[in-house]
Amino acid sequence: MTATRLPVWTLVIAACALIIFYFPQLGTLLIYDRAAISHGEIWRLLSGNLVHFSIAHLLYNLIAWLIAGTIIEIHGYRFFPVLCFSSSLLIGIALFILEPELYLYAGLSGVVSAAVTYLCLQGMSEKGVWRWLCAATLAGLIAKTVIEMITGSSFMLQISEENFVPVPLSHLVGIVAALLLYLFLRITSPLRRFTR
């Protein structure tokens, strides 16, 4: 009988997002702010993903994050912290370079997209129903993100009362970050086996 792993990273990141939300002073220090980043506050590229604008914004992202992160950690898929860090950083850099008009950004959904993509890619290499479920979920996620990128807006965003625009680029970058990490791990897998 194997003991279920505790999803430590998932819980730590969720706790960070919650703490930042309830301490607005922290949110102000950590939000992706283009002007502040230009003035040297580069941590905002990374930390902007942990800031949220409203309780609805936070809840939607946290539910999705807890599902994806918990499955990844229970399954024991490796390099999850690397995925979290690299996808967060890539999202920040991509927004800074590709979205010059975007002055502020906040939200964990890009990292959630990365986690789900990574989970699905790992799941596709397993056997049984889980493999097909992962393939279907990944196909759905990619299709939705592509449509969002083409139309330039979110599908069915319910957080309508907020004064922010959805940024589908963050979801695309999250998917790409997970794909790159997965490919890197596949390519370097024989090498790692050899060094061991």
Binding site: I67, T70, E99, E101
Partner: protein, 305 residues
């Protein structure tokens, strides 16, 4: 002879009537007032309240309420009258709950346009107890989740002078109808308080003066109309002053950062950003359903194995 004596009698009656009118010139006042000082610092309680440093987390949740009138021993609202105040019951100046709500909505409409205001709650009078002080404000703050409250008070005085008269020529001769000169002075006062720190942020008054006249028979109706108009005019004047005081307060915030602490939330920064647009990475309904479905399937498979 008989005819001339009748004429003299009529002339005498008219003369006496005029004399009665001249000698009977009377005046009276009716006053209705509520006071923020009486509400926040009632005599029975310790008036010493040490304000702290207010922390204004933007955008603010604002409440707006009329302070209740101080009650007498019998528990009824106080109203003072003096002198000649005929038909006073009809000219009752006290604000009805509906009129208070209308005035508060007028003020709220003006404030809603500011990005630093998240929402404005109109607080019914029943929520405020006479002399409730900051303990009462704390209850309201907890109940309605407010940061700042705008306390409105009013002072309306109506002066009635019986100095006018209208003369009508009728078939039987001149008919003199006594009339009134009415002055309605109204003042509305808005005091903005940070509830937690008990610090007054700023205040703004609004005043109005209505000069009217009426016949004795229409007096109560006329007084009521003047009173109502007085409140409307005072509210408009107060809104203008509130905007001016708010601009001054903003300057004060910049000049004296040690006295007021301002925290801008990410929502506020995104809302007020003039440099470009604010964006959010958010999971929508479709994504959420997809991920929840995956999670349920994962649990089902794990349960089976």
């Amino acid at each position: 002879m008989k005819r001339s004596s009748i004429s003299i009698f009529i002339a005498l009656v008219i003369l006496l009537f005029y004399a009665a009118l001249m000698s009977g010139c009377a005046s009276g006042t009716t006053k209705h007032a509520t006071s923020v000082v009486d509400y926040l610092f009632p005599k029975t309680k310790d008036p010493v309240v040490t304000p702290g440093i207010p922390v204004l987390t933007l955008p603010l949740r604002v409440g707006i309420a009329f302070v209740p009138a101080a009650t007498g021993k019998d528990g009824r609202e106080s109203r003072t009258s003096s002198g000649f105040t005929p038909f006073q019951g009809g000219g009752d100046l006290s604000l009805t709950e509906k009129r208070k709500t209308d005035l508060m909505q007028e003020v709220a409409r003006n404030f809603k346009k500011y990005p630093f205001v998240k929402n404005i709650e109109i607080i019914p009078s029943a929520y405020l107890t006479p002399g409730g002080s900051f303990a009462n404000l704390d209850q309201i703050r907890t109940m309605l989740e407010l940061d700042v409250i705008v306390l409105l008070s009013y002072d309306q005085v109506q002066f009635t002078d019986q100095t006018l008269s209208f003369t009508y020529w009728t078939m039987a001769g001149p008919l003199v109808v006594p009339a009134q000169k009415n002055d309605t002075h109204t003042m509305l006062d808005a005091v903005v308080y940070d509830i937690q720190s008990r610090k007054m942020l700023f205040r703004a008054p609004g005043t109005s003066l209505i000069n009217g006249s009426s016949m004795l028979v229409d007096q109560s109706q006329e007084l009521r109309a003047d009173g109502d108009k007085g409140f409307s005019e005072a509210a408009q004047s107060m809104i203008i002053n509130l905007n001016e005081q708010l601009a001054l307060f903003k300057e004060k915030l910049k000049e004296r950062p040690e006295e007021y602490k301002v925290v801008q939330t990410p929502t506020y920064i995104a809302r007020t950003s003039s440099s470009g647009r604010g964006g959010g990475g958010s999971v929508d309904n479709v994504m959420l359903m997809l991920f929840v479905g995956l999670g349920v399937c994962f649990l089902w498979i794990k349960g089976r194995s």
